[in-house]
């Protein structure tokens, strides 16, 4: 299970980076970034997973049973939430830049943008 | 050393002697030169006549104060050089003012008159003067190199820079002369000597045809007379220096005059035998064989 998510995560990162590096369209580049980010999130979550445990939502029964043996590590989950928020912010910002670049230069092609100095 | 007024008198006497010797020797040399060229030539006392005539001239024009001072510098340079030289070895009175400085003083004092004359000639505003001076200065710097090498060689050889001591070391027989104890240094110095005597092949400085006599071209009447006076004294003083350094000096006047005459003939002989060098040629020439000989002189002390 962990192996699958880890592999998927890593592949997603590589795929994302590949897109980031090779695509000419700004939107595709941003999508590449998002893919890589998702891969990272997957990796975080999978590291926090412990076999045969449940989500870290505490209730009375859980507390009585001793939560540290019942739930998965809650910290990566908290982290991933933050990371998602931040990834969202960065993606949003990238999109803003892409939009304004399009307004200024009338193109979304990175190579054409570079030429227009 | 203490100063005696009699020293002054003897200095003047020796100066007078050397002036006459200079005039006569140069007159004779010109006579010989003319005869070799199958001309009749001047009378041997012609230089006296020229000198007196120029001193007696009434008319004179001046280009300015330095023009005035040029001949003064020149003659004081000649006289000074002579006065700083010990003339007769062993004589108490004919040491002039050689107590003021040693060989180095003499080699540098030669330039006192040269530089002053150059300034005076410069003010005349005549381009030929300036051309003559640049030639002269350029050539002299190169001609001095073998001489410097020779001087260092004999300074090391005798372990002194005092001319009197160098002469003293050469006493007691002709084989004690530097000529025989250090022939390489002597040859180097004699080759350098050629460059400072303004004779062919090194006389492009005063080339009478192209740049009418070069530096002194504008000097006339009394100015020229002063220069002519110097021309009698200065070469003699230089020759005496060489006699002192390389040919055992002299213990009395006749010996000195004979040695000076013979040594004076050396550039004269070369002069009649060789055509003229351009300045750049003479610079290269001095920096080759004479310099090499000078270096060997130092290496084989």
């Amino acid at each position: 299970m962990i192996t699958i998510t880890l592999t998927t995560g890593s592949l997603l990162i590589l795929l994302g980076l590949y897109a980031l590096l090779t695509r000419d369209n700004l939107l595709r580049i941003i999508i590449g970034f998002s893919l890589a980010n998702t891969g990272v999130h997957l990796i975080i979550v999978s590291f926090g997973y412990l076999k045969n445990r449940t989500a870290p939502i505490l209730n009375d029964t859980m507390i009585a049973a001793g939560p540290e043996t019942q739930i998965v590590d809650p910290l990566p989950q908290a982290l991933v939430l933050t990371a998602i928020v931040i990834g969202f912010a960065i993606t949003a910002f990238l999109l803003v830049f892409a939009l304004r670049l399009y307004h200024t230069y009338g193109t979304l092609s990175l190579s054409k943008l570079v030429e227009k100095s | 050393m203490t100063f005696h007024w009699m020293q002054l008198v003897y200095a003047l006497v020796s100066l007078f002697i050397v002036l006459n010797v200079g005039l006569i020797i140069q007159g004779i040399v010109r006579k010989i030169g003319a005869r070799l060229g199958r001309r009749h030539g001047i009378r041997w006392y012609q230089l006296y006549l020229d000198l007196f005539k120029n001193y007696a001239m009434r008319s004179a024009v001046s280009h300015g104060i330095m023009f005035y001072l040029g001949p003064v510098f020149r003659l004081s340079g000649g006289i000074g050089l002579f006065l700083f030289m010990p003339v007769i070895y062993g004589s108490v009175w004919f040491q002039n003012f050689s107590g003021s400085g040693d060989l180095i003083l003499l080699t540098y004092f030669i330039f006192f008159g040269t530089l002053g004359m150059a300034l005076g000639a410069g003010e005349s505003g005549h381009p030929y003067s300036a051309i003559g001076i640049t030639r002269g200065l350029s050539q002299t710097t190169a001609a001095e190199i073998p001489l410097i090498l020779a001087i260092i060689a004999i300074a090391v050889q005798y372990q002194t820079l005092s001319v009197t001591d160098i002469v003293a070391a050469q006493q007691g027989g002709i084989l004690n002369w530097t000529l025989f104890t250090n022939p390489l240094a002597t040859i180097a110095a004699l080759l350098g000597f050629l460059g400072s005597m303004m004779r062919s092949p090194f006389d492009v400085v005063m080339a009478p045809q192209e740049i009418p006599v070069g530096p002194p071209t504008e000097f006339h009447s009394n100015f020229l007379a002063v220069l002519q006076t110097n021309r009698a004294i200065f070469p003699m003083a230089k020759t005496i220096l060489y006699v002192n350094l390389f040919f055992g000096g002299a213990t009395n006047w006749p010996v000195l005059i004979i040695k000076v005459f013979l040594l004076y003939m050396w550039p004269v002989f070369i002069g009649v035998a060789f055509p003229r060098f351009r300045v750049d040629q003479s610079i290269r020439w001095f920096l080759r064989i004479p310099t090499l000989i000078g270096i060997l002189a130092i290496l084989f002390i």
Binding site: L17, L110 | H126, S138, T140
Partner: protein, 1042 residues
Amino acid sequence: MTQPILFIALPLLATFFTGLTGKRYGKFQSAVMNLALAGTVLISAYYVSAFVSGTRQPYTASTAGSLPPFSIAFRMALPEALTLLLINGLGLLGLSALKTTFRQKGTLSAVTYLLYFMALNGIVLTRDLFNYFVFIEISSVALAGMVLFKESGRCLKAGFSWMMATGVISIFLILSAILIYVRTGALDIDNILLTDPLVLYSGSAGAFFLFLALIFELKPFPANGWALDVYENASPAVSAVFSGAGITAGLFALYKFLPIVGDRWLFPLIIIGLVTFLFSNILALKQHIVNRMLGYSSVGQAGLIAAVFGMGVLSKEDMFFIAASLMAVHALAKGGLFWLSHHTGYTSVYEWAGIRHKPLFIFLLGFYIFALLGFPPFPSFFAKWSLISALAAGPYGWMMAAILLGSLLEAAWMIRWFGFAVKGNEQTANEIQKTPPVYTLVPALLLLGLILLLNRSRFAFILTNAWIPLLFITGFFLLDFLPARVKNTFMIGGLGLYFYFLYPTLTEFRLIFAIIFLLGGMILLLAGYHYKGRRIGFYPSSALMYSGLVGLLTAGTTVEFFFWWELMTLGSYFLILRGKKSLPHALSYFLFSMGGAYTMLSGFGLLAAANQGSLALETLSSGGPFQAVIFILLALGFLTKTATVPLHIWLPGAHSEAESDVSPVVSAVLLKAGVFGLILLMAGMGPQSLGRVNLYTALGWLGAITALIGNLSAIFEEDAKRLLAYSSIGQLGYVLFALAMMNHLGWLTATVFALNHFLIKALLFLAIGGVVMRVKTRNMYEMGGLIKKMPLSFISVMIGIIALSGVPPLTGFAGKWLSYNATVLSGWYFQGVIINFAGLVTFLYCFRLIFTIFLGQLKDQHRQVKEAPFWMMVPQIILMGVILFISTVPNVALKPVGTFLTRYFPEHALVWDGPMARSLYGYWNGYMIMLVTGVVFAAVFFWLFFINRKAVKIKQFNIVFAGERPSRPELTHFAYNFFAPYQKALGFLVAPVSTDFWNRLSEGTHAIAGFIARLFSGNGQSYVIHQILFAVLVFFLVLGGI
């Protein structure tokens, strides 16, 4: 009581508060912003004072009441407090720089700015790895927002590249956080460090990714194109905080997290840091956009400081001192520079000429640049000193070389910029006000405060010893509004008083050089009375130079010596720069000086290492196993100053292009600093040899060759001042030759040559300077016949050249006589012959100098020329008097010198008998020579005058000229290419080999810079590729066992 959380809360509250009040950025919003940042400044100041006074102890505060990793820990200690003070102080200043921008762009832009500082505060405070990631991302996004303050397509592109690159960094960072958490179960530094180091071995992927992220935040070369684009294109006010505050925070994070990364990464860190420092400055060389150059400098400085963190050899105090000094100076100075750029709006260095008539701006620019370059008395100077000394103690020569080479390159482009600002002549679009705004001034005041803080360091003794001259310098900066004549009087009086007070403490060589520096300086300053108006900048620069020169004499330690050496260089650079066309020459002077200074610095560093850190100058005698290397390094420094071939090419331009009363100072006085250094070095270290080479023999040959090349070059010069400048090179060659003999006569010769050179060059440069002032040209062939118009100047030059060429009876002959004796004594016959040949060559240029200017034909355009100004003549007359006096009674000057020289070299001293000196070989009586020459000269003169009293004065063209009377002076004045035959025969000796060499070196460096600069295409994708390749490279380097 305060809490660290306030550093986050205050800006955050302020952003909410203002963000909610609408889009308009009015007075109220501005007040809130200012209050928030002022609050953080005050709190950090409180913490600093509390920690320093000991009323509070460092502590860690956890948020949310639980313990890590379930809460975030903030640590507060002195380093944090200081860093925060610096960051928030810059933030507060930056607010006022951006006021107009905020007004135009609205409140949200101000909010972005404040968020950036909130994030930076968080980066400094947090102990938590993941929290660090969060703050990093906030700061990155905020910065990208701030890039948009300026609306241009280039900004957008830069911003997009920036976002792409930071996105990749965020991936590294987040991976490192999770990987480290998985291994250690902790996210905060302290708990991570508690785990078994075997568990967190530093080769792990987590450490690798963390290292990469930390490094990328500092923009390592070459993976830093995205940051450079931001520096270049963003508003400079944004770049100011990005560089000043952002780098400080990034460096602090590196310092904080480095223990987690582990020791294994320290060495790669050093390499990356130094490579970045070196190459950033190479690349900056090729730039002319100021903001990009400053960007290169910022990443370079960050690299240097990062490398310092990696240097395990540094003691803890040293590391703290060096890093703190460098960081603080960098933040303030770089902030100041960017803000200046913001205020002026100038982009290219050429445009900076717009400030050339605004002294305050020039002062500020210079202040920041020289602080950044590590000049005394700024803390960065001491940081550099400590760094080099510490490295010298171990086998880290290559690190020293990289640091010093980088610093030299940094100096090159910065000084080029400064030069354009002061002397450039390009028309600029923006006219700016005379008074600089507050935000460009405050960093300067803070830097001054930092200098005072040095009183708490181990270098306090320097400031204690130096406060009088430093006050003297400061005084002239403050009084620069006074008329030049008043300041001139102050300066002369000041030097006089200084000499009066120093006199009892000075002995031997120090006294001789004090006479040259102070009394000589006073005489030369007299010429300054000629100048009317205020002469802004002249007196502060002179004060710097003279203080520096005297400081060399009073210095008791190597660090003080170097301190004053640098100030002297600085002052003289400013003075030289004042010349009309001196821009490139001042630059080359400065660069050679800096090169020399840096070799000297390494030498002193090695020396201190050999003496267990002792800094006393007396330690020169115990150089340890490296003494020959130390000797060479120090000698290189001094030889640069004395312009020894092949380090001489800066001199002719620098000395000839300087102003008429500056040339004599830099030539006659300043060159002696190098001579003094050589004397100190040779007397201190004694005989040296490297392998089988006797270094003194080498120096002797070098001196002889320098003498020949210098003098030969002089005779082919058409420019009178360049001729004199080349002549100085030759003269200093004599001095070096004589010093290298290392015996009594040699050193006496050197002293005489040095004194003579002072007297003669001062006289000649003043005289020629006066002539140049009148005829408005320096080409000698355009002059001629001036003796009739300027007779006094003529006499000066005549005395000067007679003395210079060594013709008796003047003082130059003393040098020649001693030199001959010393040559024979040392057995240096062939070097001696070269020296003597060089001496003969002197005649050529001396004659040329006086003939082509004063003799020959007067030109039509000079018929109305007057004698040189009165105040230019006054010092000349004094100098002539001194020359004649010393020529007549040389024993007065030489006997005392000989007496103390016997302490160094007891053998072969001269024996004095009144004015008569006897050596082992010969004798010389200056008084008698003068007397005989004088009497003969007077006698002949009066004789000629008597017989020729009726000589008629005639007109200029009345000469015998092939039967014609020339009518144009140009046709008859023989002056151009005066020594053509000499050129033909020996011109090959002065082929510009050295100049070619240095030119090729400079061109080569530029070519490299141009080649590398192609990496930075402005394409975000290539920047990311650089990052990834960089990561791979680092990975393999570490894998490879470095």
